[in-house]
């Protein structure tokens, strides 16, 4: 047993640090650290910087222009970029669709779409969930009916993250009502500029329009946009979900959040002391830190197994549940630390260069925003209840 990185891994980490030092624009890391609103252009700028270095396709093999990194290297990259407050890599094209196309896509699809994901020509969003199909994803109702060289698509997707920026959406659509529900689903790529596609924003608890409804009204999609075989979409969707769940523990985010929490608790007055010297609050910080230390190792154990060629199974469900609970607890403590200044809400202050400054300390409003926004962590990507169900079924065999 050796808990340390090898010399090669340390050298790799130094490379990543040096790169971030040189190439991560301070403008962007300031926005991320300050909880400011990121624009589409901000994400695109960071993607382009990574792509230039060949580091955008973090999970991709070299033959498709990816890094070819193993699980440990990917972990190191994640750890370092979150610690440096880099914008997150928008996952839909890179971590979700990319791997599906590599495994199940046609040669033409790979040749067309993969480079466009890397160079930013396409912004993808994920069209899985529907109003009636959340945890029970197999009940998707959006239909795609074959009509000559096209599918005619009708229905509604919802919770489509950053769909307002996207020009492409990958969807689970119903192509058959026969047999088992899972066996009538297909995986279809849809150009959102085609007539009949409508995107409507949904405002979340924190006041931000981060997700959308996407409506399809007689949308004509060419048949070559079908991925793999008709009615086999469920298999591809499940394959994608295992990729969605890499990095699911969010240890990097938790570490960054914990550091911010300690900094804030060190600044907040609490009577004659600082909040961090309040034994009750210090105990809470310590508790979550202890959990996180163990969680980081649980995560590394899974990563080591993955690097050794073991496909992550129900372990990722474990990581999702514990990882999100830890992140949400850090968010709750940070909100609590902000004290009375957790209350003011000045939306404009989240925009870069706004004349409206924050009310109270600059960390206060983002703390409340992050607390409410990150309630989503235990809901999306398979809710924590669904994950517990998987753990009890697959690991405990109950």
């Amino acid at each position: 047993m050796d808990l340390n990185y090898t010399d090669e891994q340390k050298a790799f980490r130094d490379d990543v640090r040096a790169f971030l030092e040189a190439k991560l624009p301070k403008r962007l890391s300031d926005k991320v650290a300050g909880g400011k609103r990121l624009t589409k252009a901000d994400y695109e700028e960071w993607h382009a910087i990574l792509n230039e270095k060949g580091w955008l396709g973090v999970t991709w093999p070299k033959e498709h222009g990816g890094t070819g990194w193993d699980a440990v290297e990917r972990h190191i990259f994640e750890e370092e970029t979150t610690a440096a407050h880099a914008p997150r890599i928008v996952p839909f094209g890179l971590n979700m669709l990319g791997p599906v196309l590599m495994k199940f896509g046609s040669d033409a699809q790979k040749a067309h779409y993969l480079p466009r994901i890397l160079n930013g020509d396409d912004w993808w969003c994920q069209g899985y969930s529907e109003p009636g199909a959340g945890s029970d994803l197999a009940s998707v109702k959006t239909t795609a009916v074959r009509d000559g060289d096209h599918y005619i698509v009708n229905g509604q997707k919802t919770w489509t993250t950053l769909g307002q920026h996207a020009n492409m959406i990958f969807c689970l659509v119903r192509t058959s009502k026969e047999g088992k529900r899972q066996e009538g689903i297909s995986f279809l790529l849809i150009d959102m500029d085609i007539p009949g596609v409508e995107v409507r924003p949904i405002v979340l608890l924190d006041g931000e329009a981060e997700v959308n409804e996407v409506w399809f009204n007689d949308v004509k999609v060419p048949v070559e946009n079908l991925v793999g075989e008709e009615n086999k979409g469920w298999t591809y969707a499940k394959y994608l979900l295992t990729h969605e769940r890499t990095n699911i523990a969010g240890v990097g985010f938790a570490n960054a959040g914990l550091a911010a929490l300690k900094r804030i608790a060190g600044l907040e007055n609490d009577g004659d002391r600082k909040l961090i010297d309040n034994p009750f609050f210090a105990a809470k910080i310590a508790q979550v830190e202890i959990d996180l230390m163990a969680m980081a190792t649980t995560n590394l154990r899974t990563i080591a197994a993955a690097a050794a060629g073991q496909a992550p199974g129900a372990e990722s469900s474990m990581l999702k549940v514990k990882g999100t609970l830890i992140r949400q607890e850090i968010n709750a403590l940070t909100r609590q630390a902000a004290g009375p200044y957790a209350m003011p809400f000045v939306s404009e202050a989240l925009d870069e260069g706004s004349n409206e400054g924050p009310v109270g300390p600059d960390y206060a409003m983002p703390a409340t925003q992050a607390y409410f926004n990150n309630r989503k962590l235990s809901i999306y990507g398979g809710s924590n209840e669904v994950q517990r169900q998987i753990v009890s079924k697959m690991i405990l065999e109950l």
């Binding site: 609590q336 009375p340 003011p344 809400f345 309630r375 235990s378 809901i379």
Partner: protein, 376 residues
């Protein structure tokens, strides 16, 4: 032992519940927050006409209530409706302090307050967090009157109010209990400026800056330097109010969540049929009953001796803080994505409930205080 309300109180509760149910719509709340004053003139006038403000004052002060249970029932109903009118600031804090300490001339104002005049209360300061005696705003004698200088933070409903009861130090060091005085300050007075903004959970508040604000001698409310006990009592009553409001919010959230569990279907059945959710909802219910008892404890001891009263203040606020967080987080989680959307009624109620932990001391603050009070 008797846990039923008196007939008068029951009537008030029933009437208020009906009125708020019919009046408070999502549109009304949205418009209130968007408006410059940050509240609803219609709702406020309606409350005044129903006598709801009067219920917060004793008979000798011109009202017809003012006891712990009057406060609790009123604010529970406000919470149930998710309403955010300047009732706490006007009736309990500013109004309550004028009633407790004011001269006869100052108390003459109470009639207008009961009729709908809006006041606010400016005590907390940028670095004071929840520390009741930490006041750096200074009031110095100047000629016949007073000159105030300092900053006051997160003053709720300042945009709607004409006056604020402002605390200032007339003597003593920064956290001394002695040396605190209260002043009635018109919000349009020279030297006072406000930056106002919306708050999470609805309504508006402001940062107040006072620079050499000149006030007449009769602006002083109560004894010079001797306001601390009255401030502490007012905060005890305010804590009772927000705890009861939290309870009302919890009840509405529970109703909404239960209904959702019964109607939302996944895997061919209502999600409320999943035992994993049943047990969690049962825990939510059990904890809300604890919250109700904590509010009753506090309301029933609000007129007791200080040591007993304050123990209940901290016990109730600690418990409400903990249960509030549980109710907020569990209700959002059990709703799934819908629970994250601002359009859905839960969003407003949940945010308002969570923000109550940021007023008058959070759960941890009161846990430590409870221990200290027990040791004393």
């Amino acid at each position: 032992m008797n846990f039923t309300l008196t007939e008068e109180r029951q009537m008030l509760q029933d009437g208020l519940r009906r009125y708020l149910r019919d009046t408070v719509t999502p549109d009304l709340l949205e418009d209130a927050t968007e408006s410059a004053s940050g509240h609803s003139e219609t709702l406020w006038q309606g409350l005044a006409e129903m006598g709801v403000i009067g219920a917060l004052f004793s008979e000798e002060d011109g009202g017809f209530g003012g006891a712990g249970f009057d406060i609790a029932l009123t604010f529970e109903e406000m919470g149930r409706a998710g309403a955010f009118e300047p009732l706490l600031e006007t009736g309990i804090l500013a109004g309550g302090l004028i009633a407790a300490l004011g001269s006869d001339e100052q108390k003459a104002r109470i009639e207008a307050i009961i009729g709908g005049d809006i006041l606010t209360y400016a005590h907390a300061e940028p670095g004071s967090r929840y520390d009741l005696s930490r006041v750096t705003t200074r009031a110095a004698k100047s000629g016949e009157g007073w000159t105030l200088t300092g900053l006051k933070s997160v003053v709720p409903h300042a945009p709607a109010a004409t006056h604020a009861v402002v605390s200032a130090r007339t003597s003593g060091a920064v956290a001394d209990r002695d040396g605190l005085s209260l002043f009635l300050v018109p919000l349009d007075v020279t030297g006072l400026s406000a930056r106002d903004y919306t708050v999470n959970g609805g309504g508006r508040a402001a940062e107040l800056s006072l620079v050499d604000v000149d006030l007449p001698a009769d602006a002083l409310i109560g004894p010079e330097g001797g306001a601390f006990d009255a401030i502490e009592t007012a905060h005890a009553r305010a804590t009772c109010a927000v705890c009861a409001e939290a309870l009302g919010l919890m009840e509405s959230i529970r109703a909404l969540t239960t209904e959702y569990l019964q109607t939302r279907k996944q895997f061919g059945q209502p999600i409320g049929k999943f035992q994993a959710l049943q047990h969690r909802m049962a825990d939510v219910l059990i904890e809300i009953e604890q919250a109700r008892s904590a509010v009753i404890n506090l309301a029933g001891h609000l007129e007791a001796d200080r040591t007993i009263r304050e123990r209940h203040v901290s016990a109730a606020k600690n418990l409400i803080g903990r249960v509030g967080k549980l109710v907020v987080e569990e209700s959002i989680q059990m709703h799934g994505g819908i629970g994250m959307t601002r359009e859905y009624a839960l969003a407003h109620l949940a945010k308002r409930l969570m923000m109550i932990d940021h007023r008058f001391g959070d759960a941890d603050y009161h846990l430590e205080r409870f221990i200290r009070l027990a040791a004393a």
